[in-house]
């Protein structure tokens, strides 16, 4: 049946027209555009909220603010999950956790997505993946059949893991064992009572040589897996665009993930700057962290974002001086955000508030000379279909995501956007413990339910929060009691969705 366009639909489509007009004409052609090179650059735990690009009061991204003048900038972009495993899996598969089932590292990727993913859908490409983060690396391993190069994590680490090198055929178990046995720096204990202390001392001494440059210590993953972000950026530039075949590079870099070990020139940049974000009510998932502790952690994080921003600029400068910048579509985004409020720190709890789930997304089409701002809510599951669309490929029907505006003029701004966590539920069963965020237009509803783990402190085993993000971007006023009809409608949508995905 042919669907007629009503007035509301017409206005939605019309709102996209100016952004579509700003794109180079060649980029709006969806048929036979050739196979352009693609770099997907993911910075871990990078919240959109803490970027001056998105109107944060601190000038955390001065370089990105300038680079964005030639990019498509997404203001309301959402991760698929609240930490690396579900967030990255959603980005790579174009579906949400209820379908790919990688709720956490304890779960297995649903077998269909071992081949149906960003790498498997681009067989004509030379596909390279790298991650500082072991959780992302584990996902790559599941998809390794469709990767031409899966660069080992430790190749770009500053530290040395002799066990993983010696037992490279059993890499995962040997490296996990090494970390559990030797690393005391992050949590103060390890499986070894003597060697671990010796190893920590050696690691500290080795890093001390770079103390001048990194006053808080080197950037690192876990306790002693330190690395230099500069090395990773250099490697990316050296290994991009040197081939005759189109390349798809997926690069998952750890900063600004904690620990927030920024570089000397950014250290203490925001100290005593009298920036006081609003104090928010404590969440039931709280760690008990005080407002003052949040302020300190946020400052360190913001200073780390400055470092990321500087390295993004350096990446663009290097590609430009190499003459290859215009040969790539560059997608700049994150796997999830980072939160410093409500007694919760970083991304350990699925509170689903904006700093945790709103992530940056910038798309740099080659040759684009204008900035395009997209304010419609979008999701990281849309990146895969967008790449398929811009390369003229067919978009499979199993994808939950859809091509992003302005590459998709039919994109509807009131589309339902979900962020999902169900890691404390049984696979194949309806969710018994879960956190669901539904964003639709300006409204956002957060629904927590269950009684295990994070949900043990839930009064009545469920909680509903409703926010009007246009009027209340800081999510200070829960409107759930004031707008029961809207809550009912949005809850109904969530319940129907859960049912249709086999988890309700």
């Amino acid at each position: 049946m042919e669907k007629k366009i009503n007035r509301k639909d017409f206005l939605k489509l019309a709102s996209l027209l100016p952004t579509a007009l700003a794109l180079p004409p060649s980029l709006l052609q969806s048929t036979d555009p050739g196979y352009p090179n693609i770099i997907v650059l993911v910075f871990d735990a990078w919240s959109a909220v803490n970027n001056s690009l998105y109107d944060y009061p601190r000038q955390t991204t001065p370089n990105l603010d300038r680079l964005a003048e030639k990019a498509v900038v997404y203001y309301n972009h959402h991760a698929g999950g609240y930490f690396t495993t579900p967030g990255t899996a959603s980005l790579l598969t174009g579906v949400l956790p209820w379908r790919h089932q990688l709720y956490s590292q304890n779960f297995k990727l649903q077998s269909k997505f071992k081949s149906d993913n960003l790498f498997g859908l681009f067989p004509e490409y030379f596909r390279l993946a790298y991650s500082h983060n072991a959780l992302a690396q584990e996902i790559f391993l599941e998809m390794a059949n469709d990767l031409d190069i899966l660069k080992p994590r430790e190749d770009l680490y500053y530290t040395f893991d002799p066990v993983a090198k010696l037992f490279r055929f059993d890499y995962d178990a040997s490296s996990v064992s090494w970390i559990r046995t030797m690393e005391t720096i992050e949590d103060g204990y390890a499986n070894s009572i003597f060697l671990s202390r010796l190893w920590s001392t050696i690691s500290r001494m080795r890093e001390a040589r770079l103390k001048e440059k990194y006053p808080l210590g080197l950037p690192k993953f876990g306790g002693t897996n330190s690395f230099l972000l500069e090395d990773s950026i250099d490697w990316l530039v050296e290994n991009s665009g040197a081939l005759d075949v189109p390349s798809l590079t997926y690069y998952h870099l750890l900063p600004p993930h904690k620990p927030y070990n920024t570089r000397r020139e950014f250290h203490n940049r925001f100290l005593d700057d009298n920036f006081y974000p609003p104090q928010k009510p404590e969440h039931f998932m709280t760690y008990g962290i005080s407002y003052q502790e949040h302020l300190e952690a946020r400052r360190l994080y913001d200073e780390y974002v400055l470092f990321v921003d500087a390295e993004i600029k350096r990446l663009f400068d290097l590609l430009s001086s190499k003459g290859t910048l215009d040969k790539f579509w560059i997608i700049l985004t994150s796997d999830h955000g980072e939160l410093f409020e409500r007694g919760i720190h970083a991304h350990g709890k699925p509170s689903m508030h904006r700093p945790l789930v709103n992530i940056p997304l910038l798309i740099f089409p080659p040759g684009q000379e204008h900035r395009i701002d997209v304010h419609q809510p979008t999701s990281s599951i849309d990146i895969l279909p967008t790449l398929l669309s811009i390369t003229g490929k067919k978009i499979p029907s199993w994808l939950e995501g859809i091509p992003l505006p302005p590459f998709n003029p039919a994109y509807q701004g009131d589309r339902e956007i979900y962020v999902v966590d169900g890691q404390y539920s049984d696979i194949g069963q309806p969710y018994s413990n879960a956190s669901i965020m539904l964003r639709q237009a300006e409204y956002k509803l957060i629904y927590h339910f269950g009684k295990k783990e994070d949900y043990a402190a839930l009064p009545d085993q469920e909680s509903v929060e409703l926010f009007d993000l246009d009027a209340d971007p800081e999510e200070m006023n829960n409107l759930a009691d004031k707008q029961p009809e809207l809550v009912k409608r949005m809850m109904q949508k969530i319940l129907v969705k859960l049912k249709s995905e086999g988890v309700g």
């Binding site: 559990r180 103060g188 499986n191 952690a297 360190l300």
Partner: protein
């Protein structure tokens, strides 16, 4: 007095060194196994335990070598039994202090919020200093007691001999650990 630091002495020191190292490693293995099996599967969890035991074995050998070196530089006028008892006691005190410190971090929930914040130590350096001072004082005290009292020396030697018996069990587990590592690496290459 003539020193008799032979292979037998080394093996005694090795058995002694292996005890606290393995005690803690096994405690951590049992603590981790559920998390590790949930992370991937039980075979991986067991494999990780195998590597941990292999490292514990190497750590024990290194510790025994160091103890052998230290025992050889203790004053020659002390009897061999005294030297063994002193070095064993000092080793056990250090190992005990290390285990207590790690247990504090592993099992204490009191300051968990602090662990999430960069730059905040779980306890201040003054406390570290006091603990180190207490350990040192205890070492001196025990050394003095052993040198002055044959009864204390004999009591401790008897205690360490009993401990060493348990280490045989740990060594058997190490052999299982090595076998696991070999099997996993062969499997991974097939």
């Amino acid at each position: 007095m003539k020193s008799r630091l032979d292979l037998k002495s080394f093996f005694r020191l090795f058995l002694l060194a292996a005890f606290p190292i393995h005690l803690w490693s096994l405690l951590m293995i049992f603590r981790d196994v559920e998390f590790l099996s949930e992370r991937t599967n039980m075979w991986d969890a067991v494999g990780i335990s195998g590597y941990t035991l292999l490292i514990a074995l190497i750590e024990s050998l290194l510790a025994a070598l160091i103890l052998l070196g230290v025992i050889s530089i203790l004053p020659g006028k002390w009897a061999e039994g005294q030297r063994f008892s002193i070095i064993s006691s000092l080793y056990m005190i250090l190992a005990g202090a290390s285990i207590v410190d790690m247990a504090f971090h592993a099992f204490s929930k009191a300051r968990i919020s602090q662990q999430y914040l960069h730059g905040l130590e779980t306890y201040p350096s003054l406390t570290y200093g006091l603990i180190a001072g207490a350990v040192l004082l205890f070492c001196v005290l025990v050394t003095g007691l052993i040198l002055r009292s044959k009864k204390v020396e004999n009591l401790l030697t008897e205690f360490y001999d009993r401990i060493m018996l348990l280490s045989y069990l740990y060594l058997a587990l190490d052999m299982v650990g090595i076998a696991l590592v070999i099997v996993r690496n062969i499997n991974a290459q097939l």
